[in-house]
Symmetry: C2
Subunit: 314 residues, 2 copies
């Protein structure tokens, strides 16, 4: 059985990846600072080190364990928050990558998978991006994600670590943090709809996203673990766009009560919308998305309603 370091297992994607690994019998260590993640999301059986993956002191607690791979999914994931504290964003998203790559080097670990982001593309015209598209980051968050990829390229060529960046588009689904209203369009709207019966939209109804269901995101990580050498990066996307208005309609259609919508001004560094070609990951890693947005959103809405009822003690 394998041994993995999955950073950010108290988070949305990290928790789901750790769970899959534990369920198939692997052993998993995680580092998480619980800044946006929740302790109860960490699956049973995972060794938990509480702390920031961007801190050398925390990395030292790994004590030279030789993992089969490092899957680096920790890090604050809101472009909006990156404007409030750019330095924290740099430390949590970029310095952490450097420290973990350095740990891999020193401990004979040959695989590294990283949560990249579609935000590195910024706005593009036309809005369909391939991995060859220019990168024009609009938020500090996106700059740090891109720098991390470039560090990985060097660790691959100079130190022989197989490094893969998965440029996640909008990951959503069961398990997403419904109390974080600064990250994740689907979960933000859904949380407001279920909690307040009112959705406040920051920005235009015509913006759109390429939504990827959490199970598909997890399977992309598993596919990336199979890569054999060098550095590469992949869009994890469906090549479908869903407009803000449609997202809201789908959420409302799934709820047994009416929801009002209010539009206010947008957030700094927000992207209007891009969607991702996925031929590269289909061809090279054999990955393809399995869950359609309507289906994923239906599962997520059902889950959110149950959760809310439980919270309210009904």
């Amino acid at each position: 059985m394998g041994k993995y370091l999955v950073t950010g297992a108290a988070g949305f994607i990290g928790g789901a990846v750790a769970e899959l690994l534990i369920n198939r019998g692997d052993s998993v260590v995680t580092i998480d600072n619980l800044s946006t993640g929740m302790r109860e999301r960490i699956p049973k059986g995972v060794d938990f080190i509480e702390g920031d993956a961007g801190s050398p002191k925390v990395i030292r607690k790994l004590n030279g364990i030789r993992f089969d791979a490092i899957i680096h999914l920790a890090g604050q994931s809101s472009g909006e928050v990156s404007f409030e504290n750019p330095v924290y964003d740099l430390q949590t998203n970029t310095q952490s990558t450097l420290l973990l790559l350095d740990y891999a080097c020193r401990n004979d670990i040959h695989r590294f998978v990283y949560a990249g982001s579609m935000s590195v593309y910024g706005d593009q015209n036309p809005p369909l991006v391939t991995e060859d598209s220019d990168t024009v980051p609009k938020s500090f968050y996106a700059v740090g994600k891109l720098a991390s990829e470039k560090y990985m390229r060097i660790y691959a060529s100079e130190f022989g670590i197989t490094c893969t960046a998965l440029r996640f588009f909008n990951i959503y689904g069961v398990g997403q943090n419904l109390s974080n209203l600064k990250q994740g369009m689907a979960s933000i709207y859904l949380a407001m709809a279920v909690r307040d019966h009112k959705i406040i939209v920051k920005g235009s109804p015509d913006r759109f996203r390429d939504f990827v269901y959490i199970d598909d995101a997890v399977s992309s990580v598993m596919a990336a673990l199979e890569r054999k050498n060098g550095f590469d990066f992949y869009n994890v996307s469906t090549k479908h766009r869903t407009r803000v208005e449609e997202v809201i309609r789908i959420i409302c259609d799934g709820l047994p009560y009416s929801v009002t919508t209010e539009y206010v001004s947008g957030t700094q560094g927000d992207q209007f919308g891009i969607y991702g070609d996925n031929s590269k990951i289909r061809k090279e890693l054999g990955w393809s998305p399995q869950v359609k947005f309507e289906e994923g959103m239906a599962r997520m809405t059902e889950w959110a309603v149950e959760r809310m009822a439980a919270e309210r003690g009904m």
Copy 2:
């Protein structure tokens, strides 16, 4: 008269820029951690804050002074050293940029000039690069320099700060640190030739560089200060290439004794050679290089020989 923050005034380029500003009657504050810079290089009249520009505590010592511009030239400048301590490199070169841009924002400062680097291009084929060439950083140093530029783009578009990155090619000349053998091809070879009468070359004699004399680098900073808005970046280059072998020949020709040369293996992340088209900076900033390499190297050699004699108390 103007008021400027010039970070790194104990360093090679920073010292020269601060001197020019002081001589024309401006007031100058500097932050320098003296890690590779030398206290005696800081021109008289400059207010000196000792510390790292990557540290929030040090930035707080600026006490809200409203500078006409921030000229950020501090930072370790060796690709080789960046491999020894990638995290320090990220803090000194990139976190410092973020902190200073944030300071500019909060204190109503509208201009920011940054020491970028030709290293962001990595190796290119053909080796003549324009600002439109791809960026493929080969060292941690280069990744951090590129991330800084991307942060500047955001501060320009979101916060209205005029930001200019000068992608310096190989700056050399009188005043360069002859005891730092990890940065600056011309000064490294010259120092070895004058001190030991023996040059040890790490890497191929066929590698080449595009050398820019220090006075020309300083005038590019002055030209950048005149820019009026937005973010942009410029090659500071001569569009001439000089091979390692030629550099050594020119140095040896200027010395009254014979010098031996030994070739050993190269350093990590070293570039084979690129040279820079400079049409953009000529056209948009009216800058052009004035000092030919033979002339600049002659001045520098004379200076180095005198300095060495003085050091030896002759």
